[in-house]
């Protein structure tokens, strides 16, 4: 159990980067962007392909970010310049990326033009490079000794992934929070909030939407590139349902931590991504559920996360009202006694 949850926390914190991207489009820009299902794979495919072709994993990951940015910009251009409805722009881009992703991965082989997956089992990745340095520090043994002393004997193989991903994801969060407070960031937020108003303050909403979608999908692609290196393969179908997972993370996080400030909301999104993974891990340990049921579980989680806060709020209000009614009754009862 411990290992399963440990693994979900590791994954969750990588997927959190994708969830931040989804938060930017879905909440900040108010643009339901379905490009994510495609651009996540584009990131994974670009990174995996370049690594297999012998490029440094850091360069491969950087290229993945650029590829995601371009994919997002294309969706933005379809919407703002060709005036295609936001949902449809995203779907069109998602479907186009499917073929593009096959082509990208196809460059690793000479026998075919497209290729549905690229394994990374015998090559270096950002993680293996990092572990080379981390392994010499002896932190793993220290942590595992602590665990052993409290009676847990299923040790995780390394704490390195968790450690480096906390640093990476939170650095991104801090930069992201700060960006949303810059002049451009304020304009992007206003575009999602009241586009008529921001146009009357000399901001080009088309450019801001394109830029926002680009940044969002750059984050999604980075997340895809890291997941590919973490799981040691890229697959053309690894992005299916990614947008729903992103939404689930955003909605779960917001339901738990609230949306009072941006700093808090982005933290909520990260926490939401981790909780989502833990819930899935626990659900998959139930006997009659199969890995194939994961999407169904995801859909259920989103539905529950959407309904629960409203239900709780209603319940709270009902008890509040009932209490007031009771107090009122007591008060008027006493008054009646008084008069008598």
């Amino acid at each position: 159990m411990f290992t399963a949850i440990f693994g979900s926390v590791e994954q969750g914190i990588i997927y959190a980067i994708m969830a931040l991207g989804v938060y930017l489009t879905f909440r900040v820009l108010d643009f339901p962007d379905l490009t994510v299902d495609g651009s996540f794979v584009t990131g994974a495919a670009t990174a995996a392909t370049l690594i297999v072709l012998g490029y440094h994993p850091a360069l491969a990951t950087a290229a993945a970010i650029v590829a995601g940015f371009l994919a997002g910009c294309m969706t933005g251009i379809l919407h703002t310049k060709a005036k295609i409805n936001p949902l449809l722009s995203g779907i069109l881009m998602m479907i186009a990326l499917y073929s593009i992703n096959l082509r990208i991965m196809g460059t690793t082989t000479e026998t075919a033009i497209g290729r549905p997956n690229v394994p990374l089992s015998n090559v270096d990745s950002l993680f293996t490079i990092f572990f080379g340095w981390w392994g010499n520090l002896g932190i793993d043994t220290a942590f595992n000794n602590v665990l052993a002393s409290i009676g847990i004997d299923n040790m995780p193989k390394t704490w390195g992934t968790l450690f480096i991903m906390i640093i990476v994801t939170f650095s991104i969060k801090i930069i992201f929070d700060r960006f949303l407070k810059t002049e451009v960031g304020l304009a992007i937020r206003a575009t999602g909030d009241n586009d008529k108003m921001i146009r009357s303050f000399s901001a080009n909403t088309d450019t801001l939407i394109i830029l926002g979608l680009g940044i969002s999908n750059a984050l999604v692609a980075l997340s895809g590139a890291l997941i590919a290196q973490y799981t040691k393969f890229a697959d053309v179908s690894m992005g299916i349902g990614m947008i729903v997972i992103g939404l689930a993370s955003v909605i779960i996080g917001e339901a738990i931590l609230g949306t009072k400030t941006i700093v808090r909301t982005t933290l909520a999104v990260i926490v939401g991504a981790i909780i989502y993974r833990i819930v899935i891990a626990i659900a998959l340990r139930v006997d009659f559920l199969d890995t194939g049921d994961m999407k169904l579980i995801t859909a259920l989680i989103v539905v529950v996360a959407l309904i629960l806060p409203k239900f709780l709020e209603k319940h709270k209000e009902r008890t509040r009202k009932a209490k007031r009614r009771a107090e009122h009754k007591v008060a008027s009862g006493q008054e009646a006694k008084h008069l008598a």
């Binding site: 700060r178 960006f179 407070k181 810059t182 002049e183 451009v184 960031g185 304020l186 304009a187 937020r189 206003a190 909030d193 009241n194 008529k196 108003m197 921001i198 146009r199 009357s200 303050f201 000399s202 901001a203 080009n204 909403t205």
Partner: protein, 265 residues
């Protein structure tokens, strides 16, 4: 400062719903002019405002601001020189953002937006000082979300934001019409104060004739897409509502349409 030259606009051309919205509009505002615009519904007042702001482009005719032909400029590009306050108090501000963030957006109107932090210490001080001039205690609520403000407060903030960078033109489109009388009076007072402070060139559409007489140095009356009456500064001083009603009857040969519009005082 602002020059409209032979502006024409037809909506739904070549269909049964064809409507001549603007017919040969010529208007010339000098720097510091404050022109009030009256006219019944469908007279073309809002269409004219939209022509100036760039939300609509004329079929023919030109728009000049500060001697520059801006007819082909997109709305966002023109709004560098144009401040606007809309009728709907919700329209001029971003509700999910704080008061200071909204002001930061207004502050960046005539500058290019970059990666500078929108609200720094120096700007916050500037925002606080400007808000004090509204006397609504908003200077102590800088980090409150604008969506929490009342309609009157939001409209006052919109007005401050629209005038913040001293735009070449200020367009007010019935900006007090959605408020209750006491709030409307407050906004009217603030309008006067802010316009006078920077001597802004202003065009204000109103349905309230008394307001049209009280504010500004010039007045125009529109009907069926045309400017039918222009009152110059000298004559406007002693103008009364009765004068305006008479003028309309004389020009149009019919009684002024008695919708809420022109009769509301």
């Amino acid at each position: 400062m602002l020059k409209l030259d032979g502006i024409n606009k037809i909506f739904n051309e070549a269909t049964p719903d064809e409507k001549i919205a603007l017919d040969q509009i010529n208007l010339d505002l000098k720097a510091g002019d404050f022109v009030t615009v009256i006219g019944s519904n469908g007279a073309g007042k809002s269409t004219m405002m939209n022509m100036i702001s760039g939300a609509l482009t004329p079929d023919f005719g030109t728009v000049e601001i500060d001697g520059k032909n801006v007819t082909k400029y997109a709305e966002y590009k023109r709004s560098q020189f144009i401040g606007r306050v809309f009728q709907d108090p919700m329209a001029g501000t971003a509700p999910a953002m704080t008061i200071e963030e909204n002001l930061a957006i207004a502050y960046s109107r005539n500058k290019s937006r970059g990666l500078r932090i929108g609200v720094d210490k120096k700007r916050r001080e500037l925002f606080r000082e400007s808000l004090e001039s509204l006397h609504l205690n908003l200077e102590n609520r800088l980090t409150a979300k604008v969506g929490l403000l009342s309609g009157g407060e939001r409209q006052a903030l919109s007005l401050l934001m629209a005038t913040f960078t001293k735009p070449s033109i200020l367009l007010l489109d019935e900006h007090t019409a959605a408020l209750d009388p006491s709030r409307a009076e407050l906004i009217t007072k603030l309008t006067k104060q802010l316009v006078d402070k920077d001597n802004l060139t202003t065009l204000m559409v109103t349905h309230n004739m008394q307001q049209a007489l009280d504010l500004g140095n010039r007045l125009i009356m529109m009907d069926k897409g045309q400017i039918i009456l222009e009152v110059e500064p000298e004559a406007k001083k002693d103008l009364t509502i009765a004068d305006l009603m008479d003028a309309f009857q004389r020009i149009r040969g019919e009684k002024l349409v008695s919708d809420r519009t022109l009769l509301s005082v």
